[in-house]
Symmetry: C2
């Protein structure tokens, strides 16, 4: 069962959305997906802060009271594991790409989440779709997600679980849904945001907990690592077992997994 | 007044959309904007063919009968000048980026269009947001339009009418809403699609009517041209009068304008 927050209250079923809402017509908005564990919205403040930062960069106004009311009302219904999604759009406008301040639309949903998906190993294929480090949107969770969708479809076609995305210079960025870390000789490395990397919250938690070098990586760095893993807010840490069909080295990641669990 | 086609029929007011429709949540879909002139949908077959091509590239199924019914029903209401927009999304899905075949959602709208906007001169500013020629989405009208929005906002802030977008190598692509042509020594040039260029219909009409070189262009090529103009399906041909505050040469474009008018 899915629970919906729209127009300031809980509801079931479809929402009454304007056909001119720019979330629908232009992917003009931002989103967050929050893990809810026994009614607790994990990393709630971090998610709201990231949403605010991305909204500000796009020039969207942020209805903070409505956002907090949505998170509270939905997570209150979240026994066991759920995923709470916040979708904030610029709102309804007449035609034109650059329009002055609008009243934003907030849609939030609560859906069951299978905890088996956490810590699950993952196989990657390198996508032919590159990330665009020349746009600030590569560092935001905007609603314009079609490049990630194209890459995810490519992964599915190739029989891999997810796609590794490079930027225009061939540097490693992230997967369609997660950040990438390599472990080599006891040292953790992850690509810097400027390479076109989403500022993941689990990524940030690991950077706070360990000494991590934020440094540009090439696909060869993954093949030569002692371990490669991905991080995100829902599936947490996943060992990468293969890249483009080539098996990767599997060092123990229990310390990293425990550190992430400890801050949830 | 705005007319809406949704769920197979005409309606007014908001649409009853699922909060999980992937057009809203992920910009997962494609669109077209069609000029309607005295009930005639201009370049109707070309717009539908381009929508179909982009939808196929994304793996969306295309409800052709519904699309044609929407165009017919809406353009029938279009005395004078209107813009008909088709928005086709992948439909409703549970979580996950790569999902198997869904039933797509079609939303179409008809809104008045001010014919004064046609052939209006335009000033451009070079955007710091680049187009991503490494993604097929740079050659499609997908709902994931946030990079164009960022560039259009930048243009508005700088007091320009539109933004010139380059690709990751610094080659000229197009503006946020239009293709770019240069005229020099009687010869027309426009960037090739592979540079990350939207396959505009007015662009294609000019290529059919004249000898046009599809060749990569640098910003300097615009500064040295006898004339620079933009094309799209609604505003048709617009003389570019300035780039980054520098006035551009203004050769006569009446032949090109007449040729486009002749095929409408």
């Amino acid at each position: 069962m899915s629970l919906i927050w729209f127009d300031g209250g809980l509801q079931a079923g479809p929402i009454a959305l304007s056909a001119h809402d720019r979330g629908l017509t232009l992917g003009d908005g931002v989103f967050e997906t929050i893990l809810v564990c026994d009614k607790k919205a994990i990393w709630r403040e971090d998610h709201v802060a990231r949403l605010q930062a991305a909204a500000s960069a796009l020039g969207l106004s942020v209805p903070l009271a409505d956002i907090n009311a949505a998170i509270s009302a939905l997570s209150e219904q979240g026994d066991g594991y759920h995923v709470l999604r916040l979708t904030l759009t610029r709102g309804v406008a007449a035609r034109g790409l650059a329009v002055p301040g609008l009243s934003p639309s907030l849609v939030a949903t609560l859906d069951p989440f299978d905890p088996e998906l956490m810590f699950q190993p993952v196989t990657l294929v390198t996508s032919f779709v590159r990330r665009n480090e020349f746009s600030p949107s590569s560092r935001m969770k905007t609603l314009s997600y079609v490049d990630n969708i194209l890459a995810a479809r490519e992964a599915a076609r190739s029989g891999s679980d997810d796609a590794l995305m490079l930027n225009s210079r061939g540097h490693v960025c992230c997967t369609t849904i997660a950040n990438v870390f390599v472990l080599r000789n006891g040292q953790l490395k992850t690509p810097p945001l400027k390479d076109g990397v989403l500022p993941g919250l689990a990524r940030q938690k690991l950077i706070s907990a360990f000494k991590v070098s934020e440094i540009s990586l090439l696909p060869a760095d993954l093949l030569q690592a002692d371990a490669v893993f991905t991080t995100n807010s829902l599936r947490l840490i996943r060992s990468v077992t293969a890249l483009d069909g080539q098996a990767l080295s599997q060092a123990d990641l229990s310390v990293q997994k425990a550190a992430l669990r400890a801050v949830m």
